[in-house]
């Protein structure tokens, strides 16, 4: 076309990014991408290679090593060998390496960006302006955390060897999110990138090599799920971090259950994008472009579910369609496109099938008349209206450029619709009313809430899910806890520490006096003393073998009823932290008032002398004071993200926590586990130790005089082993805490796979409940909350 003609048409014309540097880099090593293990480039042990292709062009970019268990084993061994020295190097030493990596990423930013877009199919603008700058920022930020570890994470140490498995949608960025915090905290790493996108991880390995990172600190094993599986199953891996589908996350949750491996999962989503009638609708439209047409919608936190207030639904959708008509789909290396290629023909087919399903379920499908390139895996931007919550596409993640739209009538209904999902990764809220925004944001089940923005990321802010979107955070101070453990965690005992005596054989009751007045211990459910569903009781004996009383033999229906009561008692969660503190102090007051009764009971059941029992009771009172004190002090942060905005990192209660209290640990074990959970605003269903259950049933009388709202704490007594599966398997509670044997721990972690509930288990090791850290440290409170990051840009 001549300049004269273009003067009239004003077409943009092609603006291709040159790929010569990327091709030259790929041509190194004869077009092969190798493992990087122990500081060396390695051929795959099995001798197999697979092709990695450009989805926009269909061309083969390179042959990548097809890793197997042997490769993984070499990498893990190298990482293990290197770990002690890497941790011992200290924060400043590690910071210097991370700083050098950040610098190197910047120095080679265009090569990284070009390779990323070639390999993944995303627009070059996105890798250039978003992915790669965020990668550099992540390494810088974590260089800082390495520097500060000794001061800011005093009392914590590295986990050891981290196995990290990342997806193909943000290949290098996800590598950075995993590698930077792990290395900063003194862990060594085995990274397994997605099979579709191995190239930029290889370049990252080269960068690590070039900055002189010690051999074995960062190891790269390429390959498909076989390599991933080998990594997950490797005995000498301390931690698995995974980003990917919920389906695979479930497999990993089960595979690691009971192994003692730490696990964090960042999984799928169906994130709501809520538009209230007073929003800036033109900005909303651009927000949607960034939400669902960013990276072809292949974003775990994509705002894929548009919820718009009915009063503005029509005008918004008209604007959205108009905007969609201007989106350009094309070769990922063209600088003037909005959507590139989806990652693989397999994914393209899945999107097609899901949209067809949506249409068959009654949705109206709208696509602009945009041109798609003839070759490559391309899908047009798509809007589905007339979608109801009951439709498959309102619930299922599509992972493509497909937006589904629904409407709502009131602010409350918007929240209800938004939370009507198995996922809970992110949400976007659009309103010019600050009262509304700050009311809605905490009510949303989402790890990240963006107010009047979407898909904002930063190394200083935590990112991660609720529900089936997974657990753990990446970024910010909260993200670092995924790669450290308290020093005392390694020192937990293999046998009980509690000074309870081995109980004597039950003996006959003494019959020479009239009996004391009979007391009936009951379950405590929904603020009421209730009889067990089954109508059975269990006799309980004290340490000397005397019959101490009978406790209800709770069953699965009692667990069901208790969970239901807890779920229906949100008042404890929504009340102010000050109110919770008041109630907890009051519980301590009333417990102290009955101190002698409890002391006698502790002494009798445990076999401690009176002084010992009195000391335990005193510590229980202190622990409750601790919890009361923490209730309104364990608050959040404002993260320093590099934008004009406030990023609130709010600590939120999980909701309902199911606790199986330590069996061996008297009253202190019960109080130490239940009170932090309550203090943070959780409702609790607790199964107390059977041997010490009478202390728990005595305790509800204290609760009844202390203004604790009904349903906040529910006590189901019985055999812990038989109640455990019902509590751990119930879909209602957001978390299970278990102090018991290895098998029970495995069961709890495996049962969590369905809903991705949080778990905290002891793997058969024993806390010293009298120790300030092991029995009452900050760890208890950290497990009782989840951090939600709320981004609030400002400026009029």
């Amino acid at each position: 076309m001549s300049i004269r003609e273009i003067f009239d048409t004003l077409e943009y014309g092609p603006a291709p990014e040159a790929t010569d540097h990327a091709e030259a880099w790929l041509a190194q090593g004869d077009g092969h991408l190798r493992h990087y293990i122990d500081g060396q480039w390695c051929e795959p042990a099995g001798g197999n290679w697979f092709e990695t292709r450009s989805p926009a062009r269909g061309t083969v970019l390179a042959l990548a090593a097809d890793g197997d268990a042997e490769d993984v084993d070499r990498a893990v061994r190298a990482a293990r060998t290197a770990q002690a020295d890497w941790a011992a190097l200290g924060g400043h030493g590690r910071a210097r390496y991370l700083y050098a990596i950040a610098r190197a990423v910047q120095k080679h930013s265009r090569l990284f960006a070009t390779l990323e877009s070639l390999d993944n199919g995303k627009p070059i603008r996105e890798s250039r302006d978003i992915d790669i700058p965020l990668v550099a920022r992540h390494f810088y930020h974590h260089a800082g955390w390495a520097q500060l570890m000794a001061r800011e994470f005093a009392g914590f140490q590295a986990l050891g060897v981290a196995g990290q498995i990342i997806p193909w949608n943000f290949p290098l960025l996800m590598a950075a999110w995993k590698v930077a915090p792990a290395l900063a905290m003194g862990n060594t790493v085995v990274l397994k990138p997605a099979e579709f996108t191995p190239t930029t991880a290889s370049l990252l390995a080269q960068v690590c090599h070039d900055v002189g990172l010690p051999p074995g600190v960062f190891n790269l094993v390429l390959g498909d799920h076989k390599a991933g599986q080998a990594l997950v199953e490797h005995e000498d891996v301390d931690k698995i971090a995974f980003t990917g589908s919920t389906e695979v996350g479930r497999i990993l949750r089960k595979a690691t259950a009971g192994t003692g491996k730490k696990l964090t999962l960042e999984l799928g989503g169906k994130s709501p994008f809520i538009v209230y009638e007073d929003a800036d609708l033109d900005s909303v439209v651009e927000g949607l472009v960034d939400a669902i047409w960013f990276n072809q919608g292949q974003v775990c936190c994509a705002g894929s579910r548009l919820l718009v207030q009915e009063s503005v639904a029509e005008s918004l959708l008209e604007k959205v369609r108009e905007r969609m008509a201007r989106l350009v789909v094309g070769d990922s290396m063209d600088k003037s496109i909005d959507l590139g290629a989806v990652v693989d023909p397999v994914q393209l087919e899945r999107i097609r099938e899901l949209v067809a399903l949506g249409e068959s379920e009654g949705a109206t499908v709208w696509q602009p008349a945009c041109e798609l390139p003839a070759d490559g895996s391309f899908y047009p931007p798509t809007l589905l209206t007339d979608v109801q919550p009951a439709a498959t596409l309102a619930q299922e993640e599509i992972f493509g450029p497909v937006l589904v739209s629904m409407s709502f009538r009131t602010p409350a209904e918007a929240v209800e619709l938004a939370n009507n999902s198995r996922y809970g990764l992110a949400a976007s809220v659009w309103t010019e009313n600050v009262n509304l925004a700050l009311d809605v944001a905490p009510a949303l089940k989402a790890g990240t809430v963006w107010v009047n923005c979407t898909n904002q990321f930063d190394a200083a802010a935590g990112f991660g899910g609720y529900r089936e979107s997974g657990f753990g955070r990446e970024g910010g101070r909260e993200g670092l806890y995924a790669y450290v453990k308290p020093n005392w965690a390694s020192a937990l005992s293999g046998s009980p520490v509690y000074p309870g005596q081995v109980p004597a054989e039950p003996c006959e009751p003494e019959a020479d006096a009239p009996p004391a007045i009979d007391r009936t211990a009951k379950l405590y459910v929904g603020g009421k003393q209730t009889r067990p569903d089954g109508g059975y009781s269990i006799a309980v004996y004290d340490a000397a073998g005397h019959r101490a009383g009978e406790i209800p033999d709770g069953n699965r229906k009692d667990i069901r009823n208790a969970v239901e009561a807890a779920v229906k008692a949100p008042a404890w969660t929504t009340t102010t932290a000050h109110n919770r503190a008041q109630v907890l102090f009051y519980i301590a007051e009333n417990l102290a008032a009955r101190g002698e009764d409890f002391t006698r009971r502790i002494a009798a059941l445990s076999g401690q002398d009176v002084d010992g029992a009195r000391a335990e009771l005193a510590l229980c009172v202190r622990r409750i004071f601790d919890a009361a004190a923490m209730a309104d002090k364990y608050d959040g942060q404002v993260h320093a993200t590099p934008y004009r905005n406030v990023t609130l990192a709010m600590r939120e209660p999980l909701g309902v926590i199911g606790i199986v209290a330590p069996e061996e640990a008297g009253f202190i074990g019960f109080i130490s586990t239940v009170m932090p959970a309550l203090a943070m605003g959780n409702r609790v269903v607790v199964v107390p130790s059977l041997r010490y259950a009478l202390l728990a049933t005595d305790f509800y009388q204290v609760l009844e005089t202390s203004d604790l709202p009904a349903g906040a704490l529910n006590i189901v007594t019985g055999h812990q082993a038989s109640l455990l599966p019902h509590l751990a398997g119930h879909y209602g509670p957001e978390a299970t805490w278990y102090w018991g044997d290895a098998e029970g721990s495995r069961l709890v972690e495996e049962a969590a796979a369905d809903t991705m509930k949080r778990t905290w288990v002891s793997h058969g090791r024993f806390h010293d409940w009298f120790d300030a850290d092991q029995g009452g440290g900050e760890t208890f409170y950290r497990h009782a909350v989840e951090i939600k990051n709320i981004w609030i840009p400002y400026g009029e």
Binding site: R4, L10, G13, D280, S283, E286, E432, E796
Partner: protein, 333 residues
């Protein structure tokens, strides 16, 4: 929605671009009262927009030529003289060296700038100098730049300038009316300017750098369009902050919504601080993305600029020769 035409002016629909002039409508505050502009979101869009589109090589040359055709070549200084204005007019009629235009294959394009923009006293000089060229003369008016004179004098100035031969009048709105929320007052003032202009087209300068918020910019845009503005324009060039992409985004979105509602196309003129070819491309991209191809001709888009042309000329020479150029190789305006 019913649109009331409050003007009985003849529609100048017979002009060469065939555009029907915006007649305005009754004062309808319900159409803009609810508007709230989210500044951060607008700034994000404005920041990413130029990076989302790229024009290279022949396309870039063509786009830059288009930018030239949209420039209101401007001199607004106390020391302007007839000699200075004649020089500017000659440049407006021949903005780019003939040899460059021929090398670009557009020798037949008769490229000229969108207008020449001067103070009232220099209208006569400009009209005589541009006679027969097709380059219109625009005059700034209504007590430009601050507008702090009586309304009667403002209207008298408009009429005088039209009488002197200006066919485009760039008026300044009373910022105080915006800042005090006197939207009806602003509407009536603007409507009076429009009537005083008669056949001459009126560009409403919002002086956005003095309107405090983007929400005010959006509402003021609406009021001026309701009152019959042919163009809305950002700035006088004399405020401390002049044209910016975020402000432009807000104004062109108002134009888009007004068009959707009424069917009338209102023009847009960013002014002040646009001195580089690359910035000009960003503005053209913004217009194309937010309003479409129709808004990329001088009857709906102008740059208010004095130094932009020089940078574009150097870029065009680079396109022809592959060498970076300097100012003295291009004739002065």
């Amino acid at each position: 929605m019913a649109v009331t035409n409050v003007f009985s002016l003849q529609q100048p629909g017979a002009e060469d671009h065939g555009l029907e002039r915006n007649p305005g409508m009754d004062f309808r505050p319900e159409l803009f009262d609810h508007l709230r502009v989210n500044r951060s979101a607008v700034e994000r869009r404005a920041a990413s927009l130029p990076a989302r589109r790229s024009v290279k090589k022949e396309h870039q040359a063509a786009w830059l030529l288009k930018a030239v055709s949209c420039i209101d070549l401007t001199t607004l200084a106390g020391d302007d003289t007839p000699g200075k204005v004649r020089r500017l007019c000659q440049k407006a009629m021949r903005p780019v060296r003939r040899d460059l235009l021929e090398a670009l294959g557009v020798g037949d394009l008769a490229l000229k700038t969108g207008a020449v923009c001067v103070y009232h006293n220099l209208i006569g000089t400009a009209v005589r100098e541009l006679d027969g060229s097709g380059v219109p003369v625009a005059a700034v008016s209504t007590g430009f730049p601050a507008g702090q004179i009586p309304l009667a004098l403002k209207l008298a100035q408009v009429r005088e300038s039209v009488k002197a031969g200006a066919t485009e009048i760039d008026i300044v709105i009373s910022r105080g009316k915006v800042l005090t929320g006197d939207w009806r007052g602003l509407y009536e003032e603007m409507r009076a300017y429009r009537e005083a202009c008669g056949e001459a087209h009126v560009k409403a300068i919002l002086a956005t750098g003095e309107l405090a918020t983007l929400t005010n910019v959006a509402r003021a845009s609406w009021v001026c369009m309701q009152a019959g503005a042919d163009f809305i324009k950002t700035s006088t060039g004399k405020e401390s902050v002049n044209a910016t992409l975020p402000v432009s985004l807000v104004m062109v979105r108002a134009i888009r919504d007004y068009h959707r509602l009424t069917g009338y196309k209102v023009g847009y003129k960013p002014a002040g601080g646009i001195g580089k070819a690359k910035e000009a491309l960003a503005y053209l991209t913004l217009m194309r993305e937010e309003l479409g191809r129709d808004w990329l001709d001088p009857h709906l888009f102008r740059f208010g600029a004095s130094s932009l042309l020089g940078d574009i000329e150097r870029q065009l020479e680079h396109h022809v020769t592959g060498r970076y150029s300097v100012a003295w190789r291009h004739p002065m305006g």
